[in-house]
Amino acid sequence: MKVKVIVTLKNGVLDPQGKAIQQTLNGMTFDNVSEVRQGKYFDIEINESDESKAKSQVEEMCKKLLANLVIEDYRIL
C-alpha cells in the first residue's frame, strides 16, 4: 500500500526559503500572501497490506530518518 508523509518545519523555526518564496509571490502581484512555509512530501510504497501496521512502520521511519524532530514535525496522511 501507499503511505503519504508530509514533513514541515515546527512553528517558530526560521524558514528562509519560505520567506524568499513569500517575497517573490508578493512581488508577482500576489500581495495578499503573508506567509509561506516550505515542507517535504513523501510517497512511500510499502509491501504491507495491514494499514495500521504500515502506518506504524512509517511512523518509525519518520522518527528515525524522514524528519529531524529538533526542527521538524511530520504528518502521516
Binding site: 526560521l14 528515525k64 526542527i71
Partner: protein, 226 residues
C-alpha cells in the same frame, strides 16, 4: 597516534584532512563508509563535503551508513571524534551532538575566512592553544546552528560551546555572525568534550601558501594532547 578519516560518497575534504593529520604526526588511515569496523584509532574524523549529495537533510543519510555504528560506539566509549563541516552535520544527525545545522539565514553559500573565539579550553581539542581567536576558513550552505531553548541552556551550562564566530578581536556579537547561527555558534562539544563538531576547516589553514596557518595550531595541540 593513529587516526581514521571516514570517506562517504560525496566527501571532498577527506584528503585535505589526511594531509593535515600526517603533517602533524598522526598515522592516518582512510576508512570507507560501507565498512563495518574501524581499525584501531585514537581519533576518528568525519570530514567535510556533501555526503550523499546532501539529500534529505545534510548528513542525514551518512548518519545511517554502515560505519556509523562503530563511530557511535567509539564515541560513547570516550574516543575522540572530530566532525568538520559536513562531519559536524553528521554528528548532529546521529544525535552524538545536540541541535542541527540549518540553511544559512540569507540563503547564500558562504566561502571565506572568518575569526572564531575559543570558548572552552578545558578539553583535548584546544587545551594548549595560546591564542584565543583563530582565523579559519568556512565553506558551507547549511551552517546556521539551531537548537531548542532548553537545549541551548543545557549546552551553555555544561560549557559545550567550543567556538563562536567573532571579529579579529574576539567580539562574538551578531555583527560578526555570518550565517545566522544561534549565539554565533561555530562549533560545539558533547557533554564529555570528547566529541567536537565545527563548521570551520582547520585543515585548510596549515601552510603559508594557503591563506593562513592558524589551523596548524589546532593540529599541533591535538597531537600533543595524547
Amino acid at each position: 597516534m593513529k587516526s581514521s578519516v571516514i570517506i562517504f560518497p560525496g566527501s571532498n575534504c577527506d584528503r585535505d584532512m589526511d594531509v593535515a593529520l600526517k603533517k602533524f604526526g598522526f598515522e592516518n588511515q582512510m576508512v570507507w563508509h560501507n565498512d563495518i569496523e574501524i581499525p584501531k584509532s585514537d581519533l576518528i574524523v568525519l570530514p567535510g563535503g556533501f555526503s550523499y549529495g546532501d539529500y534529505l537533510r545534510c548528513g542525514s543519510i551518512a548518519g545511517k551508513s554502515r560505519i556509523i555504528k562503530s563511530v557511535i560506539d567509539f564515541a560513547n566509549s570516550g574516543g575522540l571524534v572530530l566532525g568538520i563541516c559536513n562531519g559536524f552535520q553528521i554528528l548532529t544527525e546521529t544525535s552524538l551532538l545536540p541541535g542541527i545545522l540549518q540553511q544559512n539565514k540569507y540563503l547564500n553559500f558562504i566561502c571565506k575566512n572568518v575569526f572564531v573565539k575559543i570558548k572552552n579550553k578545558e578539553n583535548k581539542y584546544f587545551e594548549k592553544i595560546k591564542k584565543d581567536v583563530l582565523e579559519l576558513h568556512i565553506a558551507h550552505n547549511e551552517g546556521n546552528y539551531f537548537c531548542s531553548n532548553d537545549e541551548l541552556k543545557s549546552i551553555e551550562d555544561n560549557g559545550q560551546i567550543a567556538v563562536t564566530y567573532c571579529d579579529n578581536k574576539g567580539n562574538d556579537d551578531e555583527k560578526n555572525n555570518p550565517n545566522g547561527a544561534l549565539k554565533n555558534i561555530a562549533g560545539i562539544f558533547n557533554k564529555d568534550k570528547n566529541i567536537l563538531g565545527m563548521m570551520p576547516h582547520p585543515e585548510r589553514m596549515i601552510d603559508p601558501f594557503l591563506s593562513g596557518e592558524d589551523g596548524s595550531l589546532f593540529f599541533e595541540n591535538l597531537i600533543e594532547s595524547f
